[in-house]
């Protein structure tokens, strides 16, 4: 199956550190068009494109822009480059291969809402990308594509780089703001929403790297072109990070709607010889765990949701039969308990309690009552936690219990799980 490179069009073809190279490949053309447009015209284009956020929630991008149409000043455009969802690499690929495409998207949104400053908040684990981004920013300014009076339009827009220091929760937009403000990355309650009160208490639009990288091409090629790609509800292409037990791992770009089974078996070459598929987790650790009978599904935002899964950031973790599903969920929970910020009760206490209970099952010390408690607690976290991290913790738990109930019962029946008896992980 042939990939379709919209976002990856420049990957390996241009020098990512040099805006001149990006411009030669047609870069900043979208911005040039947008600079001549009014706020309403820009929003119309984004609306007609039907672009939806690529960070996980799939929120219509034009609506987000509309939220910040108010009189407050200054306003900010923030790029969420805190890619922390386990198994997700797509933003790193964009940041390292085509950073100017991200700047272009930010500048267009800046123009729409009248923001003159953008921030890129990048996770500390990607600090080695900082020199590339700094150089791309510098050369973009030199080419008049960022800074004062962009392309002679009279519009000023510049971008500042900010780094995290190791906290998954900072990928949550309000936690990210707190971190940029020099505080612990703890999410804020909502409302007020960021469009009204965001970074430094000012109207802010935050988008994922991949969302922003789509905006330049939309303005260059038109909303109709973009809508012609993908499915009815999810237009455009999507970057899928396929990882885990497949032959070919990596980031692949396809139109929205590609079949999951095809992605695993056709694109990624299936599993290692002698192994069979146990499960797939879509959307990272905060995604649903589905079984091998559920993988014949179209990968777009709505179809995956309808089938009980979650497209999220487009991460596909393939899990073969050398693993145990309860152990995988334990691994997910280990991640969530480490990464809980500790601000709200359900996530702070619940995350660890869930881990302890699942661990108890793994050790074959659990009973049916424990399983009931796990479901009850996960549901409470989903209903009451302050932010998405707490809600998401429940997703792998509840979905795996639903789709792999027998596997849980086996651990309760003490049938001797070969993986869990080895304290988890792949067997030699």
């Amino acid at each position: 199956m042939e990939e379709m490179h919209v976002l990856l069009r420049n990957k390996g073809k241009i020098n990512p550190e040099d805006a001149g190279s990006y411009i030669s490949a047609g870069g900043y053309e979208g911005l040039k068009k947008a600079l001549k447009m009014t706020t309403e015209e820009i929003i119309d284009v984004v609306r007609e494109s039907k672009l939806r956020g690529r960070g996980g929630a799939g929120f219509p991008t034009y609506k987000k822009i509309q939220f910040a149409l108010n009189d407050a000043e200054p306003k900010y455009v923030v790029c969420n480059a805190d890619e922390g969802e386990p198994g997700t690499n797509k933003d790193r690929i964009l940041l390292s291969s085509d950073p100017c495409s991200i700047f272009e998207g930010m500048a267009i949104i800046g123009k729409a809402i009248g923001a003159h400053i953008g921030y890129i908040y990048m996770r500390a684990e990607y600090s080695y990308l900082v020199p590339i981004l700094e150089s791309a920013l510098k050369t973009s300014r030199e080419h008049g594509c960022l800074g004062e009076n962009i392309m002679g339009s009279g519009f000023d827009f510049d971008i500042k780089l900010r780094s995290g220091a190791g906290a998954y929760v900072c990928g949550e937009e309000t936690a990210l703001f707190e971190s940029i403000e020099g505080k612990r990355g703890e999410p804020r309650y909502r409302p007020p929403f960021p469009g009204v009160k965001g970074l430094f208490g000012k109207p802010t639009i935050l988008n994922n790297v991949e969302t922003l990288a789509n905006i330049g091409p939309i303005f260059m090629n038109g909303a109709d072109w973009f809508r012609s790609i993908g499915t009815e509800g999810s237009s455009g292409t999507k970057l899928f990070t396929v990882c885990g037990n497949v032959k070919r791992r990596g980031v692949f770009e396809f139109p929205m709607g590609i079949n999951l089974k095809d992605l695993i078996y056709e694109v990624c070459g299936g599993l290692e010889e002698g192994r069979t598929l146990l499960a797939v987790q879509t959307g990272g650790a905060s995604g649903a765990v589905i079984n091998k009978d559920q993988i014949d599904v179209m990968l777009d935002i709505d179809h995956v949701s309808d089938s009980g899964g979650r497209l999220g950031c487009g991460t596909i973790l393939v899990i073969d039969d050398s693993n145990c599903i309860v152990d995988i969920v334990r691994n997910n929970l280990d991640f969530f308990r480490d990464e809980s910020c500790g601000k709200c009760t359900p996530c702070r206490e619940g995350g660890t309690r869930l881990y302890e209970l699942i661990d108890k099952l793994c050790q074959e010390k659990g009973n049916v009552k424990d399983l009931e408690t796990i479901e009850d607690l996960a549901e409470t976290m989903r209903l009451t936690a302050l932010c998405g991290l707490g809600h998401s913790t429940a997703v792998p738990v509840l979905s795996s219990i639903q789709n792999f109930y027998e596997d849980y019962i086996k651990h309760i029946d003490k049938e001797g799980c070969p993986v869990c008896s080895q304290m988890g992980g792949k067997q030699a």
Binding site: R92, E125, I180, C243, G244, V251, N332
Partner: protein
Amino acid sequence: MMKEAFTNYKTPSSQLVKVAEIAAPYRDRPEMLMKVVTQVQKIVPAFTDSVAAVIAREMNISQTQVYSFVTFYAMLSVKPRGKYIVRMCKSAPCHVLGAKEIVREMESLLGIKMGETTEDRRFTLEYCPCLGICDISPAIMINDKTYGNLTAESVRSVIKRYIREDVE
């Protein structure tokens, strides 16, 4: 955190002078704390009480605020860490591809457990969440260099190189 976690390690005053130089331009700009600590981290092995006090004094914030901030973020530490911080991905993509084996190998080679620092303060072993390089899992990061597709043999040779020579 229990009291014994705060070791007897004292930051030399020469380093404190440099810390003050880094922090001083950001007086009354608390939003620059992340920038300050990430720069300071490059010259000190730990955010000791004296480092936090100097940052606090220069930025006109409280020492407690600096401490609270540092203890929140996983890549910042109040305990001295090694010259080379070896971070092993703990997330599912590496987990399903044999991360445990890599951990066992590194622990036995360096004679320390995950979370510990060698006595000569050359190495610290830590778990970290997904490094975002799952195309080459299982993977580790040593300071800001990444190594992937690891096997017991290959991780051994990577670590050995760091034992033998200074890798910049």
